[in-house]
Symmetry: none
Subunit: 221 residues, 2 copies
DNA sequence: TTTTTCCTTACACCATCTGTAAGTATTTTT
DNA sequence: AAAAATACTTACAGATGGTGTAAGGAAAAA
């Protein structure tokens, strides 16, 4: 059974977490000495780390990075809701998932289960049919070739790949790019589609994106 | 095994190079379509580019510059001209080393091995003292903040962090940026140092880089 | 003080990304 | 078949960011 190491300075919360996890069948333990945290965790070789981002001595972010630099993971970050926006949004700090406190028991277990499963066999790439897409860097792979997409190209293609082979409406894409489903200027979206198609053609990916007239687009396959 | 892409218009030479490299255990392939060369190479994501500077259609110099601007490298220039001016020109354009034709087999392989070692990508994060640096993406982390460095900034900071707290000479940095230890234009290096320091200041990292007068720079800590 | 070394700022060039505009092509409807 | 609606493409221009050059200022050493 998976071993989970908890880093949490609030002792009540700590005991609570250990209890929940052990009852769920995990091997759970907590760090109580907050010196050289990364070192300790590394020695314990956990299958998952539960890390509170608000620690007294050392920044949770630094610990997270230190762990990742040692190849340890996955890491599930615990944070209060108000700090989430500021600190975690769009940040590549190496954490694999995050959870806002106070946390619901079921949600916590779901996240952990998900994360453990993901870490077993998840390459971090999305299958687009005839190609692969790295959702973090927007790098497109086909065979031995690769290509870096622009931000707009990446967002569109990722949405299409995630919903493949279903239709993604134009208003959905519009909201993705400009944060509004107002969908005022449809031409801008079309231009971006043209550019994406042109880019795909560089890897000999022809006719991947199908137009559904009056609705939106979808990825073949 | 490392993938090497060859750009050489002389078909005999091309086959010869492929043969040598493949027998040496490399994955070697050549560009045969001399249209949009930089684009092709970029898509192939090579570990090293072997570039003949005398090409029929497009100037090898232009290709070299284009590749470097996309962060592709290292580049080993092949030249039959033995004009020193041209070669220095090439190196200053971003080539990482050069070789005169006709080339000795052993020397070619030695240069390649050397270059590949120099450009090996590293895993994980480098501890810079008050910050962390991702050596692959040149992302700078401090606490909850992160920042993407430019190519030059990243190269310099990475070198400093790797040798911390030792001194990195200016000629070393010059070679890192422009592929030559000639250290011709020291001002360009200083400007890049200024820019790096300014960028570090954005994360409240003051006085991290110390100047060792007459020698070079080093990272405090 | 004088000289050497280092730092900073402003400028110009280039590449990339992106939305706008205008015209073309395709499909649907009448 | 013609008209209308929808989708596509191309060219242009503004914005942004990275870079080397040039020139002058600042700091340290002689």
């Amino acid at each position: 059974m998976a071993r989970i190491i908890i880093v949490e300075d609030d002792s009540w919360m700590r005991e609570e977490l250990i209890d929940i996890l052990q009852k769920a069948g995990y091997e759970a333990a907590a760090i109580t000495d907050f010196h050289d945290i990364a070192q300790q965790i590394a020695a314990l070789a956990p299958d998952l780390v539960l890390l509170d981002i608000n620690l007294p001595e050392q920044s949770g972010f630094d610990i997270c990075r230190s762990l990742k630099s040692r190849g340890i993971g996955p890491i599930l970050i615990l944070t209060s809701r108000d700090k989430l926006q500021d600190e975690l949004h769009g940040l590549h700090l190496g954490a694999d998932d995050y959870l806002t406190k106070p946390c619901n028991r079921d949600r916590l277990l779901a996240r952990i289960q998900n994360l453990l499963r993901r870490f077993e066999s998840q390459p971090g790439w999305i299958d687009g049919g005839g190609f692969w897409l790295d959702p973090n860097t927007f790098t497109l792979y086909k065979g031995s070739q690769s290509l870096l997409l622009s931000a707009n190209e990446g967002k569109i293609l990722l949405a299409l790949a995630q919903h493949r082979p279903e239709i993604v409406t134009k208003s959905t894409l519009s909201e993705l790019l400009w944060g509004t489903d107002q969908y005022i200027d449809e031409n801008a979206l079309q231009v971006n589609l043209t550019r994406l198609r042109k880019t795909l053609r560089q890897l000999n990916l022809e006719n991947q994106i199908e137009t559904i007239r009056g609705q939106g687009y979808r990825l073949r396959g």
